[in-house]
Subunit: 283 residues, 2 copies
Amino acid sequence: MKLKRSARLVDMTRFLLEHPHRLVPLTHFSDRYGSAKSSISEDLGIIKESFEQQGAGSLITVPGAAGGVKYIPLSNEEEAAQIIADLSERLSKPERILPGGYLYMTDILGNPELMNKIGRLFSSVFADRSIDVVMTVATKGIPLAYAVATYLNVPVVIVRRDSRVTEGSTVSINYISGSSKRIQTMALARRSLEAGSRVLVIDDFMKAGGTIQGMVSLLEEFQATVAGIGVLVEAQGDIEERLVEEFVSLMSLSQVDVKEKKVTVEPGNYRHKADKLLKGETE
Amino acid sequence: MKLKRSARLVDMTRFLLEHPHRLVPLTHFSDRYGSAKSSISEDLGIIKESFEQQGAGSLITVPGAAGGVKYIPLSNEEEAAQIIADLSERLSKPERILPGGYLYMTDILGNPELMNKIGRLFSSVFADRSIDVVMTVATKGIPLAYAVATYLNVPVVIVRRDSRVTEGSTVSINYISGSSKRIQTMALARRSLEAGSRVLVIDDFMKAGGTIQGMVSLLEEFQATVAGIGVLVEAQGDIEERLVEEFVSLMSLSQVDVKEKKVTVEPGNYRHKADKLLKGETE
């Protein structure tokens, strides 16, 4: 069908947003709209300018016969600051405090709009790390892992504490939980991960880092590489030794005072890491 | 900032796609772009026409001071047929057959792009059911539940087979698994669901329906209402009695022949149900 520029802009914007990190040949659009490639190029220029001005991300044009256009979702500092402020407010509420000094986070993890925003943030900092797959451990990390993977356009693999008949053969390892020092088991379906994959590990919470260290060990069994680690909340205090050194955290939980009913949260290392990781990326 | 129509169209399209099922006052856009409401109305007309022509969904305009515009993602028949054909091909592959006649579906559930497409399909059929929350059971149903909830713009609650300290107090029930006739337990955090909520139950797989029936019983404990049930794959055959009557299924698995290495899948009742549910919805 032949479309006017205004209608093309709406439809192309939608297509690009729904297919991040994918190289789309210009012929895809020129065939779809019955338009000349030169018109499509102009349209893409308008979309690129809007995306960059409004902080949606970037459009990268790859020239040549095998070329096309690729949408890279990127969050700007303002958006990151807003999300961190929002999370600080939510996490500080004293009614989140559970017996034992745990923090109720189920509602936050159950909010798809928030998870998608945070997923976009993490996908931004790891946008140039050539991620092949996002990995997490059941259950609480799953929503965030999917959100990140959606924006990176890669599959998700889910490590489990048990193994299931519906997964086929699995590889399992034992690991030491960092905080409780107990031996635990985690398993991953053998066919879910190819050797050589570059893996982004995502989880909702990290204390000493035993669970994440476990995932890293599991990746070694699959001859896969850790290409990055992202956690929503890292916990401070009472940690003898952090098992994971290199990670990006959005929030940092320094104290849960059960008696005084006070939660102390701060921004994590996200902004610092984002600055480092993004340097040279968009240019 | 003052924007031209073309730039406004790109940015408004993005905003609407990222905020489905939300009433956005026109002043949100007129303030953001420094444009007259009449221009914004014209822009919305262009976006609405494109969305409807290209099968992205509908824009509903609510007049008056408390009014605005709402984007309702709706899949059309063509899109549903494509996804069903794609799933049929994927599911029929004999290498999916696991010992015991189970089917490996982990890669399908681990594909965010596919989950988002399927999520949009389910959100379409339940678009006018006034859903307050999407519920699923850990672990495999989670990705699809989030995808559906993203398009409906509602929270997700996750029922667990165990209860965790990080969930606070939970309500748990025993239920009989439909296929194995074993007694099982499922639990949901007490504060995760308000009384009176209208709940859409989503799961990846349903055989006799015991697990879903369990979720329905759990909802009764919370004085919540089942507003719909959607499953990705329903299994046929060898089922004495189906415990759940009213549900929407995308695929139907009629046979897994381990000896002949043959999987027989058919479209589920989706198209039939969608026709019924959507009648009167868009017009």
